[in-house]
C-alpha cells in the first residue's frame, strides 16, 4: 500500500483554479469518501483551505491512482485536462514529508502560521468520522501532528508577528494585557484601520469609536464593527477614554498634535495610551511619542518589526526541515 498526495496550492495554482477545487469544511468527510471511490483507493483525506486543496490517499498503485483522480476530478468539476499542470504529486516518503511541512506551517503563504495545524486536524477528523481512514492514514496523520508540534515547540518558526496588523495587536496586548478592558478609536475609516481594528476586536477590545471626515462612512464602519461613530471634529473629546488610537486618514499633514494629547492627559489620569499611525504621510506628530505615557508606532516601525519576524522565521526553515527528516527516519511509517 502506497501513501500518495495530490494537491494544488497558492504557489502552483491561481485563485480561480483553487476555488474550483475548494471543499467546504462541513463536507470534508463526504469528500474523502468520494475521493476513495474516484481513485479506487483504500483510504482518503481531503484538506481544503483558502490556499490549498490536497488529497491524501492510501492505494495499491500510486501511478494508477494519480491518473484516475486527475481524470475523474477534471470530469466531475468540469475543467479541461490542462488543470493537471497545477497539481503536484508526491508519493511515499515525499508525501509524508510534505504533510509534515504543511502541518508545521512551512508550506504556508505566511511561513509558520498556526491556523493550518487546526485546519489539517479538522480535515483528518472529518475523514476519520466518515470512516474514510484506515491503518495507513491514521498513523501518518497522527505522526505528522506530533512532528508539527515538535517543530513548533523546538524552533522559533511561529514566533513574532509577520503582518503590520498583528504586530500592532501584539503590542497592544503587551501594553494592556487582556484587551477586554480596552477601548479603541479609529481616525480615518480606511482599509488598514479597519483590518487592524478588527484584529483588536477579535482579541476582545471592548468598544470601538470611529471618527472620519465623512460621517456616513464612519457610521458604516462603526456599524460593521459594533462600535460608535464620532464626528471628526469631536475626536479629541473621545481621547480621554480610549486606550488605543489607530490613525489612517488621507490628510496631507499631521492631525494629532502634542497639544491635543496634553489636553487629555489629566482627564485620563495619565494612563498608558497606544498610538498606531499607519498613514502616509503620518497623521500623528512624532512629538506625541515624547509624552511619558504614550507609546507611538508608525507604519515604518511596524513594518520593520514584521519584516524582522519574517526574517527570523526564514532562518528557522533549515532547522525545521532537519527535525522533520529525523522524525520521519525514526517513525518508519506505513505506505512510505
Amino acid at each position: 500500500m502506497d501513501l500518495l498526495c495530490l494537491g494544488l496550492n497558492h504557489r502552483t495554482a491561481p485563485v480561480d483554479v483553487r476555488e474550483r477545487f475548494a471543499v467546504s469544511s462541513t463536507k470534508l468527510g463526504a469528500a474523502a469518501n468520494e475521493l476513495i471511490a474516484l481513485a479506487e483507493a483504500s483510504e482518503g483525506v481531503v484538506i481544503s483551505t483558502c490556499n490549498r486543496t490536497e488529497f491524501y490517499l492510501a492505494a495499491e498503485n500510486a501511478r494508477d491512482s494519480f491518473e484516475k483522480i486527475e481524470t475523474r476530478l477534471a470530469e466531475k468539476i468540469q475543467v479541461d485536462s490542462s488543470v493537471a499542470a497545477h497539481f503536484y504529486r508526491k508519493e511515499k516518503n515525499e508525501a509524508a514529508k510534505h504533510l509534515c511541512r504543511v502541518v508545521s506551517g512551512l508550506d504556508s503563504m505566511m511561513l509558520g502560521e498556526t491556523e493550518i495545524f487546526g485546519q489539517v486536524k479538522q480535515a483528518y477528523q472529518s475523514a476519520l468520522e466518515s470512516g474514510a481512514t484506515g491503518i495507513v492514514l491514521n498513523k501518518v496523520f497522527q505522526r505528522a501532528f506530533g512532528v508539527g508540534k515538535k517543530v513548533r515547540s523546538e524552533t522559533s518558526i511561529q514566533e513574532g508577528s509577520t503582518s503590520v496588523g498583528n504586530v500592532a495587536v501584539d503590542l497592544a496586548e503587551k501594553i494592556f494585557g487582556h484587551l477586554k478592558n480596552s477601548e479603541v478609536m479609529i481616525l480615518g475609516a480606511g482599509e488598514m484601520s479597519r483590518i487592524t481594528a478588527q484584529s483588536l476586536v477579535s482579541r476582545g477590545a471592548r468598544s470601538i469609536f470611529v471618527a472620519n471626515r465623512s460621517f456616513d462612512r464612519a457610521q458604516e464602519l462603526a456599524t460593521e464593527m459594533g462600535g460608535s461613530a464620532v464626528r471628526f471634529d469631536d475626536w479629541q473629546s473621545v481621547l480621554s477614554r480610549v486606550d488605543v488610537v489607530i490613525s489612517s486618514t488621507g490628510a496631507p499633514h499631521a492631525i494629532v498634535h502634542r497639544a491635543d494629547v496634553e489636553k487629555a492627559r489629566r482627564a485620563r489620569k495619565y494612563r498608558p495610551l497606544f498610538f498606531i499611525d499607519i498613514a502616509v504621510p503620518r497623521d500623528i506628530d512624532p512629538a506625541v511619542g515624547e509624552i511619558e505615557e504614550v507609546y507611538l508606532y508608525d507604519i515604518d516601525t511596524l513594518e520593520q518589526l514584521a519584516e524582522e519576524a519574517r526574517t527570523r522565521r526564514q532562518l528557522q526553515i533549515e532547522q525545521c526541515e532537519r527535525i522533520i527528516e529525523m522524525e520521519l527516519d525514526k517513525l518508519n511509517l506505513p505506505g512510505t
Binding site: K174, Y270, E292
Partner: protein, 257 residues
Amino acid sequence: MGMDRWFLIAATLLAAVGGAWGMISVHQGKRSHWTVIWMIGVFLCQLGFLAVRGQMRAACPLMDRGEILSFLAWSLTLFYLLVGPAYRISLLGVFTAPVVVLFQAVALIPGTLVVNPPKQAGGNAWHETHSAMSVLAYGALALAAVAGVMFLVLDRQLKEHHLKSGLFRNLPPVRELLISLERLLWLGGILLTIGIMAGFLMPRTEAAWGHLIAAIAVWAGYALLLGVKQVRGLTGRRLSLSAVVLFVLSLVVFAFV
C-alpha cells in the same frame, strides 16, 4: 555553625540559583516556569531560619540587623509568592531573587547576625507587632520597587522600539505591572500604618523617637505618593520611579537612624 545559618545559606543559594536560572531562561526567550518552585524552596528555608532564631530568642526574631534583613527577605519572598502567580507576573521572581540574595548575603556577613542570641525576657506585644508589621510592610514595598524596576525596563523598551530581547517577550504587560505595583504600595502602606500605630503604643526609650520620626516620614512619603496617584493620577514612569526612590531612601534612612 548553627542550624540558623545553614538555613539562611541554603535560602541564599536557592535564590541565587533560581535567579540565575530565570535570567538564563529569559535571555533565551523562554518563560522561567521553575522560578516559582525555586522561590518556594527559598521560602521554606527562610521559614526554617526564622523558626530556629525565634526559638533562640523566644520572641519574634527581629533584634539584630541580620535578623531584620532576613525577615525582610522572607516577607519579600512571601509577597512574591502571593502576588506573582495571582497577577500573571511570575517574572517578578527573576527580579526578586537578586534582592533576596543581596539582603541575605549582607545578613550572612560575620557580625551582622548575633551568634547564639540570648532569650528575650519580658517581651512586649506592641513592640513585636511594630517590628513584624514594619518589616512585612517593607517586604511589600520592596516588591513594589521591584515591580517598578520591571516597569521602567519595559517602558524603555517599548518607547525605544527595542522589542527583540527575550526579556521583553517575558515581561508582563504594562497595565498588569502597574496594577500590581499600586496594590503592593497600598498593602505596604496599610501594614506600615499598623506598624507605626503599634510603635506609638509600645514602651519607648528616648532613642526610639528618632526611629519613629523616620518611620513617620517614610509613611508620609508613601501616603503622599498614593494620594497623588489616587486623586490626580500619575504616569507609570513617575509612579515606578517614586516607588524605587522611596524604598531606597527609606532603607538608607533606617541604616543611619
